[in-house]
């Protein structure tokens, strides 16, 4: 049991970051506004969590202009994908162990 808990990723022990990773995992790229809508967050709150994930190397930021409006788009990195998959596996294992 202890071991499994250690496998949980510290970066994902926050619901918001878990939510961000969930959205990024199934979409090729996700815009800042889409994330904001999905997770129902304020700009500042979302930005700070995105920074943490970016610093961990789990996501990549693309900035571009659509017309004159700047758009920021996020993409999961392969490291992020591996880390997220492992986190999910650990969660599942914990639940399985608790059940038996």
């Amino acid at each position: 049991m202890k071991n499994l808990l250690l496998q949980l990723n510290k970066a994902f022990d926050n619901k918001i970051r878990l939510g961000i990773m969930s959205v990024l995992a199934v979409n090729r790229t996700v815009s800042f506004n889409h994330l904001k809508e999905m997770l129902e967050l304020t700009d500042g709150n979302l930005a700070s969590h995105l920074k943490i994930l970016e610093a961990a190397g789990y996501l990549r930021v693309h900035k571009s202009f659509s017309g004159r409006k700047p758009t920021t788009v996020y993409e999961i990195t392969s490291e992020g994908n591996v880390a997220f998959s492992q986190h999910l596996k650990a969660l599942e294992e914990i639940i399985k162990q608790q059940e038996s």
Partner: protein
């Protein structure tokens, strides 16, 4: 590529979810992840009831068409009549199509409002793009065929392209759509084999299959959750 892997992972846990009733904290996490994945990538407000109604319209249209084509004509002008009938048939098909689109749009918007979801979001955008690319290709293909006077494969082409569109779009909505698409493709190929029976294959594909899958989706997603369409 790796998105695909996560998709599989996510299906794996959809199945493990059913037995989890204790362990609130981690289960909550998994639930939240699952619903986030679904909400952000799939459009799940598609109404099953509209599928049933589409099927009913199609069957009604097919019945009218059948009466037009196969009624033993007392008139000696059957050949002449056939040309007029072709236009009428196209008119019936068009009316069924418009009625189906309107119904689907109306019920889906209503349902999305009930579920408190946006009708126009990334999920529905993806769904539409993936549906429309094969569908528009089919439409153009059929238009070119009729322009060139190649009529035999028009009826099957509708079913085949519609089926391909459904298979392609299924990733972005309820998974039942995938199997519905496969059946439409099968019926389309069947209709290619038996050119005289296009109408029957249409009635089966656009009528019965829609009613069947519409009912399945209605029972699974609408009735169960106590949210009427």
């Amino acid at each position: 590529m790796y998105h695909f892997k996560n998709f599989i992972l996510y299906f794996v846990f959809q199945s493990t979810f059913k037995d989890m009733n204790n362990n609130p904290e981690y289960i909550d996490d998994l639930r939240a992840i699952r619903s986030m994945m679904e909400k952000s990538s799939r459009f799940l407000s598609l109404s099953g009831l509209s599928g049933i109604l589409m099927g009913v319209y199609a069957l009604a249209g097919a019945w009218v068409a059948y009466r037009l084509i196969y009624l033993p004509p007392p008139s000696p002008y059957r050949q002449v009549m056939m040309n007029d009938v072709a236009l009428t048939l196209a008119g019936i098909a068009g009316a069924v199509l418009m009625l189906s689109l309107a119904t689907t749009l109306f019920l889906t918007i209503k349902r999305a409002q009930k579920l408190n979801q946006k009708v126009w979001g990334p999920g529905s955008k993806q769904l539409l793009i993936n549906l429309l690319i094969p569908l528009a290709t089919g439409g153009l293909f059929i238009a070119i065929l009729s322009w060139r006077g190649v009529y035999e494969v028009i009826a099957p082409s509708f079913l085949i392209f519609y089926g391909i569109s459904l298979v392609n779009a299924a990733k972005f909505t309820h998974p039942e759509i995938f199997y519905m698409g496969l059946i439409q493709i099968g019926l389309g190929l069947g209709a290619t084999f038996l050119p005289g029976y296009g109408l029957l294959f249409w009635a089966a594909g656009f009528g019965l299959v829609h009613i069947f899958y519409g009912t399945v989706m209605y029972l699974r997603y609408e009735k169960k959750k106590g949210i009427p369409a």
